[in-house]
């Protein structure tokens, strides 16, 4: 028995037919869910949206090791770009979401080019992302042409599929579901590619990767582009879902925290981590919000507590814990 090396363990990773069938069944069940239990559709949509953004953060933070403390920047950009395009130029959000994605990528590449060129990493990268998010927050707060601090309302048009507006929540449910499944699949595939391994090499040892010929700048830029573009698209869907955006709920610091806390708790650098984190945290947030309506921040107290406990006792997040349990079960 030879020790499994990193290379073989990656090559052997594939899913058996059984697993594919289970995934297929789960997907069918998830498609039936809004009809079966319509009461929880809102919570599940939020789970999917935050899982997808968590996945986007995970590509940059979990896999490539660049922890962004300002991912609300891309989320807010996505929400504002599509909304402003619709309100000022009448462009449908279906085109808006693509432009959002592209502008997210462009902004991500701009910040990436600045910070990775100068070798910014660790807390410095976290802070520069925070600074950019905060600058956009201040601009949207102070500039009345983009709504100022009251924010922007998207006028209600009833059931207007061509404007990404629906009277029922179901279409958003399917959109969020497929964004989530798509991001999951993307990252799962990416993990096994050369680029995916380059991500890990940058995270594990930036200098060694560079010495071995990995173009670390390019690798970080790719991670940034995927992460930013995906987050911006969710921003657009979120804006269309709520039909209202304001600077605090989009570019605010708390939103960055919301985005990053799920993959961190679920297990950064794992495919299922962000989804697991979102499944655990999102209902907690929504339920606490209902229970303490006037104290809207109380659920963040739980987040804080869970975050501290996970960091102290489960350094690899909930996924790490599950893996440990599975290993134990297999051995015993």
């Amino acid at each position: 028995m030879s020790q499994p090396t990193l290379a073989t363990s990656y090559l052997k990773r594939g899913l058996s037919r059984q697993t594919w069938i289970i995934i297929g069944i789960v997907l069918v069940l998830l498609h039936l869910l809004p009809r079966a239990i319509p009461q929880i559709v809102h919570i599940v949509i939020m789970i999917y949206l935050f899982a997808t953004m968590g996945q986007a953060w995970n590509v940059l933070g979990g896999y490539t090791g660049q922890f962004s403390f300002g991912h609300s920047l891309f989320f807010g950009l996505g929400a504002y770009v599509s909304t402003l395009l619709y309100l000022k130029l009448g462009i449908t959000p279906w085109i808006g979401i693509l432009i959002s994605c592209l502008s997210g990528i462009a902004l991500g590449l701009f910040i990436g080019a600045l910070s990775f060129r100068y070798g910014l990493k660790g807390p410095f990268f976290a802070l520069i992302m925070l600074a950019f998010a905060e600058i956009f927050h201040m601009i949207t707060m102070g500039w009345n042409a983009v709504g100022g601090s009251p924010g922007l309302l998207i006028p209600l048009k009833g059931n207007a599929p061509h404007l990404m507006q629906f009277t029922s929540k179901q279409p958003f449910y399917y959109m969020a579901l497929w964004m989530m499944v798509g991001s999951l699949y993307l990252v799962w595939r990416l993990e096994k590619t050369r680029t995916g391994l380059y991500f890990l090499s940058v995270r594990e040892d930036h200098d060694a990767a560079e010495a071995l010929g990995v173009d670390t700048f390019k690798v970080q830029m790719i991670a940034m582009a995927i992460s930013a573009g995906l987050t911006a698209m969710i921003g657009t869907i979120y804006a269309q879902y709520l039909l209202f955006i304001d600077p605090d709920s989009t570019f605010g610091i708390l939103n960055s925290v919301e985005i990053m806390v799920r993959p961190i708790i679920g297990g950064p650098g794992t495919v299922l981590g962000p989804l697991l984190g979102s499944v655990v945290l999102t209902p907690l947030a929504e339920i606490t919000r209902l229970a303490f309506q006037s104290y809207s921040g109380v659920y963040l107290m739980w987040y804080g507590m869970i975050l501290v406990i996970v960091i102290m006792f489960l350094p690899h997040g909930l996924m790490g814990m599950i893996r440990q349990i599975i290993d134990k079960y297999r051995k015993g």
């Binding site: 520069i128 925070l130 102070g142 975050l307 102290m312």
Partner: protein, 287 residues
């Protein structure tokens, strides 16, 4: 825009800059020793403000006098935070400590929301009404006192760091932890002491502004964001840098406020922040 208006804004900026300095000194001290960026610093400052507030409301303690109580309280909170939460994972990869302080910050801020409601509270004292005039320029006593206290405590800390054995040990531990350990310095003790001192700095800054600044659970966010800017500008780990940086950012904010709408006044300082991070991440006084 006349000269008096400009001088008035610059003076106000300079005075609030002193408070930024003291907050940033706490942050930079903790970073210098432990290489941890403490995201809970703002929450700790908020606790300092509430301490002063409740001492005033229940015991009628003069807000400036309460600083003498705030210092030990916040020192103990900070030291305990380090000892029980950060120390167990001090050897883990750096981002874990970052996330841990973030978690503590979320917990403390929202605990404050839960216990004391998210309402803005104002501490009404006669200090807020006293204003001095030099020509046409007004100086409010509460701003002046906050600045004075910040400078006073920054100087005390500077003397402690440069003139006492404890201070030398702290500086040794931040420059060369291995070497300091070999010289018989108890690094773990230095860690919790510096965290305590850093938190006390945040607490004092919070207490010093209660007479003219509203008190609410997320109040720390505004100040601590500025404090990161200050700390990076002055050079992470440099106490002198944090002091000078605080004054510079205070003035930069007031210049921003002259040209930009209120919500955008800090844009200038954030642009300085990004430029410093990119072109001179060691800051003005960093090595």
């Amino acid at each position: 825009m006349n000269l008096n208006f400009v001088l008035q804004s610059l003076l106000n900026g300079l005075l609030i800059g002193g408070v930024y300095s003291l907050i940033a000194i706490g942050l930079t001290l903790i970073f210098g020793v432990m290489k941890v960026i403490n995201f809970a610093h703002g929450a700790v400052m908020m606790l300092g403000m509430y301490c002063t507030y409740w001492l005033f409301v229940f015991l009628k303690v003069n807000p400036y006098l309460s600083i003498l109580l705030v210092i030990p309280i916040l020192f103990i909170i900070g030291a305990a935070f380090q000892k029980f939460l950060i120390n167990p994972i001090i050897k883990a990869p750096g981002h874990n400590q970052l996330f841990l302080t973030l978690g503590v910050s979320l917990f403390l801020q929202n605990m404050a929301v839960f216990l004391w409601s998210p309402d803005y509270r104002v501490l009404k004292t006669h200090y807020a009404n006293i204003t001095y005039y030099i020509g046409d320029i007004s100086i409010s006593l509460s701003h002046l006192l906050a600045f004075g206290l910040a400078v006073l405590f920054a100087s005390i800390l500077y003397v402690i760091l440069t003139r006492t054995d404890l201070g030398r040990a702290i500086r040794a531990a931040s420059e060369e932890p291995q070497g300091a350990m070999l010289m018989g310095i108890n690094i773990k003790r230095i860690y919790w002491i510096s965290f305590g001192i850093g938190s006390a700095c945040a607490g004092v800054s919070g207490a010093a502004i209660t007479t003219f600044f509203p008190i609410y659970p997320y109040v720390g966010d505004i100040f601590v964001l500025t404090a990161y800017v200050v700390v990076v500008l002055g050079g992470l780990g440099s106490v002198l840098g944090a002091f000078v940086g605080g004054l510079i950012i205070g003035v930069a904010d007031s210049i921003g406020a002259m040209f930009l709408p209120g919500a955008m006044k800090s844009i200038l300082s954030f642009i300085i922040f990004i430029l410093i991070l990119l072109f001179k991440p060691t800051g003005l006084f960093g090595r």
